[in-house]
Symmetry: C2
Subunit: 220 residues, 2 copies
């Protein structure tokens, strides 16, 4: 065994400078909507997925299923679904908010070089359903956590990610021709961001502002 | 403005050594079940929650609600709910797996000094329901991601966390006397772990093994 091999089996210690950098990463992670059109180096998304697979999953079920969407026709179908759903969403907003909403340019679907659809497979036998009896939804939560890991790994490489949720989930299963039992969790746009920011776009644009964390804590 | 203040507004660059440390953090994060009984320093969980609030949320809705459970009677009620659900879960397993399952000691409920229940508030008006029309479940996913952030922040401080999902969600809302519209996402045990490991307990104990990430990727 090499000394590197031994080292990797010793529990790492994370120091204050690392924690500060981790905080910076969390602070500068953004839901990116405006991308440069530059392609990603070969193998980038596969590397990000590999890191995402280090995420926790209920009963070690690893229910995440990643669909790398390259086909132009399939991308067009996803874009069309977004457009229909976005129109409905606009209609639900008050006129002043609707104008703002339209300007927010909610999808990076046109520009992001990489599109990744992520599903959960609740039918998986992996993990023998451990931990899922009372809360089967933990399968979906596991996938959401894997997406979050991928988001952080992407940002650490200088890449931006945007999560599109204004979309018809059943349509995604059909458009992408995946098993019907899979549950659509999110469609991700990944690429080089046009700009970096330490505040959410929705806050910068005056849509909403973040609240103090202590307002979200209660003691029992 | 101090030079430090200016620095913090410049986008940080994350280098290869940081990415390697981040990977180590992901690799050594564990679902911890065995804790030392030592108390956490005052303010620890509040600090972790503050970091968790840097997580993404649909439409900037920040739907996470953190309940720090200190009351002994309430902790006993949660433990009782776990015991009932765990018994049901055991009955669903084959005899050989049931024995293994029992040995896995699935809850750190007796030993962890800190217990934190996390809920989602789908009734929040924050974010004006942006992004939630077609997929209201993104509210719950946002909370799952905040839990994951808290998990990583805890591990970076040398703390372990275990997520208890073998529990009756409706009972948690009642036991903890929180608004009935809140959705229970997970009950977390936090404390100093008895040991560190770079492999999941379920894998070490022979329950399940992780699969190759490339087996989870399809191209469309």
């Amino acid at each position: 065994m090499t000394s590197q091999g031994q080292l990797s089996e010793r529990p790492p210690q994370f120091d204050a400078p690392f924690r500060e950098r981790l905080r910076e990463l969390l602070k500068w992670r953004r839901d990116v909507r405006r991308f440069k059109r530059d392609a990603l180096p070969e193998g980038t998304v596969e590397r990000l997925i590999e890191i995402a697979c280090l995420s926790p999953s209920v009963g070690l079920s690893e229910p995440w299923r990643f669909v790398i969407v390259q086909d132009k026709t399939k991308r067009a179908a996803i874009r069309a679904s977004f457009e229909i759903c976005n129109k409905d969403a606009l209609a639900q907003q008050t006129p002043d908010r609707a104008g703002l909403y339209a300007r927010l340019k909610l999808a990076g679907l046109d520009d992001a070089p990489c599109q990744l659809s992520v599903f959960a497979d609740p039918s998986t036998l992996q993990g023998a359903r451990l931990g899922r009896l009372t809360m089967p939804e933990t399968i979906n939560y596991s996938v959401a956590m894997a997406i979050h890991t991928l988001w952080l790994a992407a940002r650490a490489e200088g890449l931006g990610m945007g999560w599109v949720s204004i979309i018809d989930p059943a349509g995604m299963t059909e458009s992408l021709d995946v098993p019907t039992e899979w549950v659509f969790i999110g469609h991700l746009c990944i690429g080089y961001p046009e700009a970096d920011a330490d505040r959410p776009a929705l806050e910068r644009e005056g849509w909403e502002k973040r609240r103090a964390p202590e307002a979200r804590i209660i003691y029992r």
